[in-house]
């Protein structure tokens, strides 16, 4: 799992970390029992405030995505299939939300955005079919 943050994004940095970890879990990129980097490590790596990373980790723990083992660190928790699907949907939702925000910022109308999404989805399906 490779995390990266975009500080100038309107989404707070801690929320970016949370959603990326969730996405990694949903996509199976990380599995139950995998260790997350320590707060210090991740803060240094991303060059963000350790408090921000700690906040993200607290959030992840609260949501039951990770658990903390004292003195060992933070690990990905076990998750059932239904929860995984829900996570995947939530991650997708967040992605779309971000995209739509950006599109509106560009001055596109709702209809234009929808049309573009549809075109893009069709293109993606085509590419998948070709594989």
């Amino acid at each position: 799992m490779l995390l990266s943050v975009e500080p100038s994004s309107p989404i707070p940095i801690y929320a970016q970390i949370v959603s990326q970890v969730r996405a990694a879990v949903a996509s199976g990129d990380v599995r139950a029992g995998d260790a997350l980097p320590s707060v210090r490590q991740l803060a240094t790596e991303l060059r963000v405030n350790p408090n921000t990373v700690a906040q993200a980790y607290r959030e992840l723990e609260r949501e039951g995505i990770t658990y903390v083992q004292r003195g060992q660190g933070t690990f990905i928790a076990e998750m059932d299939a239904g929860r995984k699907t829900a996570e995947r949907e939530a991650a997708g939702e967040a992605l779309i939300a971000r995209m739509v925000d950006e599109a509106f910022r560009l001055g596109l109308t709702a209809a234009e955005v929808l049309e573009m999404v549809e075109r893009r989805v069709a293109l993606g399906a085509l590419a998948d079919g070709a594989k």
């Binding site: 100038s8 994004s9 707070p12 940095i13 060059r47 405030n49 910022r105």
Partner: protein
């Protein structure tokens, strides 16, 4: 102790047309506090007043629970200060500078200083005046960290450093903060620099504190609205938020507003104002809009 640093009513007249006025900073313990402001806004002066390098004309300073106006040396012992430019006499070698500093700080940790020296790849026997800018910046950080302070005060620490040195510097700083939970007060006019690391923001302009708030709250409160111009628009008075700037565009206006909350859309709709969109801003946008809303700096002179 909820606050690592408090100033109350800090003031100092520097020149006939420049003064720091009634400055009250509140830096929560454990925060990375970004002190933002244009060049010449009084950031450096403020930090020097806090450290008692300049004597304030009025006001109080409390550092880590110590009355710093009365016991400045005591307060400085627990502060790591990275000045704008490295002040160490140029004739000293790096190793000599370390020994010199160690004399003044009882909590100086030699093993830690040596570890940092190695990690920063600083040439111990080179004279300070012959160091590159990046090396000088790192040495300044080393001298600020080696006595394990609880509060770091950094004055434009990475200004003029190349990207590699800047990254190294930030990493070392964040590591220290993560390890010790120390508080950091960082001044900068480079907003992007602070966007990653700060969780509190203070904006200073023309010697006064304009805003002091958690970074996220700052970004939440300043928005750009797209307002339709189909109906006559009300004046800025009586709106539930501050309008910092208005820009005319064909068929709509862009309002930069401060104090925005989502519920205000309904209030505006009642008055016949059509809000077509609320655009989030990044920190730099927020900062620029805020200062623009305060008018041209030259006007007040």
């Amino acid at each position: 102790m909820p606050h690592a640093l408090l100033t109350r009513g800090l003031a100092r007249r520097m020149a006939p047309d420049f003064a720091v006025r009634d400055l009250s900073l509140t830096v929560p313990t454990g925060a990375v506090y970004g002190l933002l402001g244009p060049n010449g806004a009084g950031k450096t002066t403020t930090l020097r007043l806090i450290l008692d390098l300049l004597r304030p004309d009025a006001g109080e300073v409390e550092i880590l629970g110590v009355n710093a106006r009365r016991y400045p040396a005591e307060a400085r012992r627990r502060i790591g200060y990275v000045p704008e430019r490295l002040g160490i006499p140029g004739w000293m070698t790096v190793a000599r500078a370390l020994r010199h500093h160690a004399v003044f700080f009882p909590s100086w940790s030699r093993p830690y200083a040596e570890e940092l020296l190695l990690r920063m790849e600083l040439p111990a026997d080179r004279r300070v005046r012959h160091l590159s800018k990046g090396q000088a910046g790192k040495l300044a950080l080393l001298l600020a960290l080696a006595h394990r302070p609880s509060l770091l005060i950094l004055d434009e620490p990475t200004d003029g450093l190349d990207p590699v040195a800047r990254r190294d510097f930030t990493e070392l700083l964040l590591e220290y903060v993560a390890d010790t939970g120390a508080t950091a007060l960082i001044s900068s006019h480079l907003v992007h620099e602070l966007e990653r690391v700060a969780d509190w923001i203070g904006v200073i302009d023309r010697g006064s504190l304009v805003v002091e708030t958690p970074l996220e709250a700052f970004r939440r409160s300043i928005k750009r609205l797209r307002v339709g111009t189909g109906t006559p628009l009300p004046g800025a008075d009586g709106l539930p938020f501050d309008v910092l700037a208005r820009v005319q565009r064909p068929r709509e206006e862009l309002w930069s507003v401060r104090g925005w909350e989502p519920a205000m859309g309904a209030v505006l709709a009642e008055r016949g104002v059509e809000v077509r969109g609320v655009v989030d801003l990044d920190l730099e946008d927020c900062y620029v809009e805020l200062l623009r809303g305060r008018g041209d700096p030259e006007e007040g002179r």
